[in-house]
């Protein structure tokens, strides 16, 4: 097993390569393009035996991916941000097809205004689709979770598409040391793909159709997709355990960093959570009883695990790298739903919005968040949701607005 410096995009490509995917429908978008470029180069150099086809849009790409998956081949695809949104009609549609394949999304904030840097509003737009979601915080995790995602998607108790999410720039273009698993050991983990009753053979053509249905049969199929997604929690545990046995790296549905004995807990998703770990280390060094919980699995949402892990905590800070306009942080809402009315729920569940469009969250800000929730616990009063923004940032935006002559009436 070699350990090399690899970007998150490179790690995603290695995941697809080691999973021995057959078909890769592709469409470029920053900051994802490096994934399909890497795969295309490997195929070109005959280091990988797969068919890569560039489609004319992400909408077609997702259609092709899922259509191929339901003919019984192993499929990989990747997109980001506006691309995922452009495909959104087919994201919901193909989850309904119960097409098992893996889609990597490289998170990037949504327009308007335009940014290339990450937040999670893109992938959260697919939250209710039926695609399962695994969120990564390191490049190693991107590679490993791509492999895990195939086992999860193809399991007969699940059979749903899976999104593996990584943050643009902070992972996509960032190199870190990554173990590349050996091909033979990956084979122990991912067996030959058994598509069961999904098949298509050119020599035996057949037609397949989806009917237009009324509410009652419609509900049956929607509920079935939901039940399959719920099954995925237990299946994820099994698959991750198998992975750990073979590769000695542990992946739990919720990453738990010193949260067991902590009075205070940060909760956040994605690569910025490693920054929270750094803050936890520094706070613990100063005597704080604090930890981090990071949902790796966002769909299905591990509600019961959160109830157990957060039982009787003094205060929790949910740091959302997303914003639902007119409501606030999505993860905060989900945790409220998981915890409300539960006997041991923490009294304080405070909401912080930060990291939109790649806006940094400094370690000082994590310290300040910790102090805010500690004070809230002492006063037994939940603070108002905080949109993280500093005086200096406002000064900068005012300067830009002045330069751009914003707010003045146009001269006729």
């Amino acid at each position: 097993m070699s350990r090399i410096l690899l970007t998150g995009n490179g790690a995603a490509a290695w995941g697809a390569r080691l999973a021995q995917v057959d078909y890769i429908p592709a469409f470029p978008i920053t900051p994802q393009t490096e994934i399909i470029e890497t795969l295309a180069a490997w195929i070109d150099q005959q280091q990988m035996d797969a068919r890569l086809v560039t489609l004319e849009s992400e909408h077609s790409m997702i259609t092709a991916a899922a259509a191929a998956a339901v003919t019984g081949v192993r499929v990989f695809s990747a997109t980001s941000s506006q691309g995922l949104l452009y495909a959104m009609e087919m994201i919901f549609t193909t989850a309904g097809w119960r097409a098992p394949y893996v889609l990597v999304n490289v998170s990037r904030g949504l327009a308007t205004p335009i940014t290339l840097e990450p937040d999670h509003n893109d992938v959260l737009a697919a939250r209710d689709s039926g695609y399962l979601q695994i969120h990564c915080s390191t490049c190693q995790e991107v590679l490993d979770c791509t492999l895990i995602a195939y086992r999860l998607a193809e399991d007969a108790r699940v059979r749903l598409p899976v999104i593996v999410n990584l943050d643009g720039f902070y992972l996509s273009f960032t190199r870190e040391p990554v173990f590349i698993p050996e091909k033979d050991r990956v084979k122990q983990f991912i067996s030959e793909y058994d598509p069961e009753n999904m098949r298509f053979r050119a020599h035996a053509p057949m037609s397949e159709a989806v009917a237009v249905l009324g509410g009652s049969p419609y509900s049956y199929f929607r509920y079935q997709t939901h039940l399959a997604a719920e099954n995925a929690l237990g299946v994820f545990d099994e698959v991750a355990k198998k992975f750990q046995q073979i590769f000695a790296r542990e992946y739990t549905a919720i990453e738990n960093y010193f949260a067991d004995d902590a009075d205070y807990v940060f909760v956040m998703m994605g690569s910025f959570a490693t920054k929270a770990k750094d803050a936890v280390d520094k706070l613990r060094a100063a005597g704080w009883s604090i930890g981090l919980l990071r949902p790796r699995l966002l769909r299905p949402f591990p509600s019961e695990r959160f109830r157990q892990l957060l039982a009787e905590k003094k205060a929790v800070a949910v740091i959302d790298q997303n914003i639902s306009m007119g409501m606030g942080g999505v993860l905060h809402s989900e945790l409220c739903a998981a915890l409300y009315g539960q006997p041991q729920a923490p009294a304080i569940l405070a909401s912080f919005i930060a990291g939109l469009g790649g806006r940094d969250i400094s370690v000082e800000e994590f310290f300040e968040i910790a102090k805010t929730i500690k004070q809230a616990a002492n006063e037994n009063r939940t603070p108002a949701p905080q949109l993280l923004y500093t005086e200096n940032e406002l000064r900068e935006i005012r300067k830009l607005q002045a330069l751009a002559n914003v707010g003045n009436k146009l001269e006729q």
Partner: protein, 302 residues
């Protein structure tokens, strides 16, 4: 932890420089994180890249705010606010500038209270690799051999001759920095007892005529000196020019070749981006390609 930031322009090899340094640290047994940062990718646009290296796993992410070493491969960026070259430079930081002016001049100009080192411009198109070689020596914990191996790894897809040129330049820069070996010192880590409180504000509502991200302005392309993007310039030899008055100016996609009443073409170097379409199109082969550094005249936009 070492925190090192490279600044330069697209095309100078800044991302490659950060990767060479990252790989060199990795070969030396360090945990490493390296990453480039840019907006819309284009040649000549300010870009930066950063490297973290430590003896334990790195949890910190994103742009380095408190650098130990800042390297500016293109001196014209020092005065470009949006390039952010000077962010977080304090007295412990070392600043390396590729420039033919003296360190004292830059010290005086920037008044940052940090150590300033200059690296003379030798090969305009290899600024990145020079900076990588210099950075390795300034850090002082990586062997010359591992610098060489890192270049070989990072440039593995190139011809042997390209690898050789880059290796020679990097090693030259490494050797030139001998007197400054190990001058980069890692900063004391932030602690909960000693940090500057973030000045959070409660953001107030602004009406949409201010808060909508729309910019209305008079046409301003003349004010933007796109000539800065160039690393080579087209130069017209008026002895060979037939004064045909239209070929070069018509093909110029930037409208940067003006023709006077006598049919004499004149390149507007403030706006010529150096695409060289005029060179390709000129039927009398009167336009040649000249490296930018060899052709700067006094008082011209650098």
């Amino acid at each position: 932890m070492y925190r090192i930031r490279f600044h330069g322009r697209g095309g100078q090899g800044i991302k490659t420089a950060s990767r060479i340094l990252g790989t060199a640290f990795f070969l030396e047994g360090y945990e490493v994180q390296d990453a480039p940062r840019y907006g819309a990718e284009r040649r000549g646009a300010p870009i930066f890249a950063y490297v973290r290296a430590a003896k334990k796993p790195i949890l910190e992410r994103g742009v380095i705010q408190q650098p130990d070493l800042v390297i500016i491969a293109d001196e014209s960026l020092a005065s470009v606010a949006s390039a952010g070259t000077l962010i977080g430079i304090d007295s412990h930081c070392v600043l390396l500038i590729v420039s033919n002016e003296s360190a004292q001049t830059w010290q005086h100009r920037l008044n940052l209270g940090c150590k300033v080192i200059t690296l003379s411009k030798q090969a305009e198109n290899h600024a990145g690799v020079l900076c990588a070689g210099a950075a390795v020596r300034l850090a002082g914990v990586i062997s010359r051999q591992n610098l060489q191996s890192a270049i070989q790894q990072e440039l593995a897809d190139f011809d042997a001759s390209v690898v050789q040129i880059n290796t020679d330049l990097a090693l030259q820069a490494f050797d030139d920095m001998e007197e400054f070996e190990g001058s980069v010192k890692t900063a004391e880590e932030l602690s909960v007892e000693n940090y500057q409180k973030p000045q959070w504000i409660k953001l107030a509502f602004d009406a949409a005529h201010t808060a909508a991200p729309a910019i209305h302005a008079a046409a301003n392309s003349v004010q933007i000196k796109t000539g800065l993007w160039r690393s080579y310039r087209p130069v017209i030899d008026y002895q060979l020019c037939k004064h045909c008055w239209w070929v070069c100016s018509t093909y110029c996609p930037g409208g940067a070749i003006n023709v006077d009443a006598k049919g004499q073409p004149d390149v507007d170097y403030d706006h010529c981006k150096g695409c060289m379409i005029c060179v390709a199109q000129c039927p009398s082969h009167a336009i040649s390609i000249v490296p930018e550094q060899e052709n700067k005249t006094a008082g011209e936009t650098p």
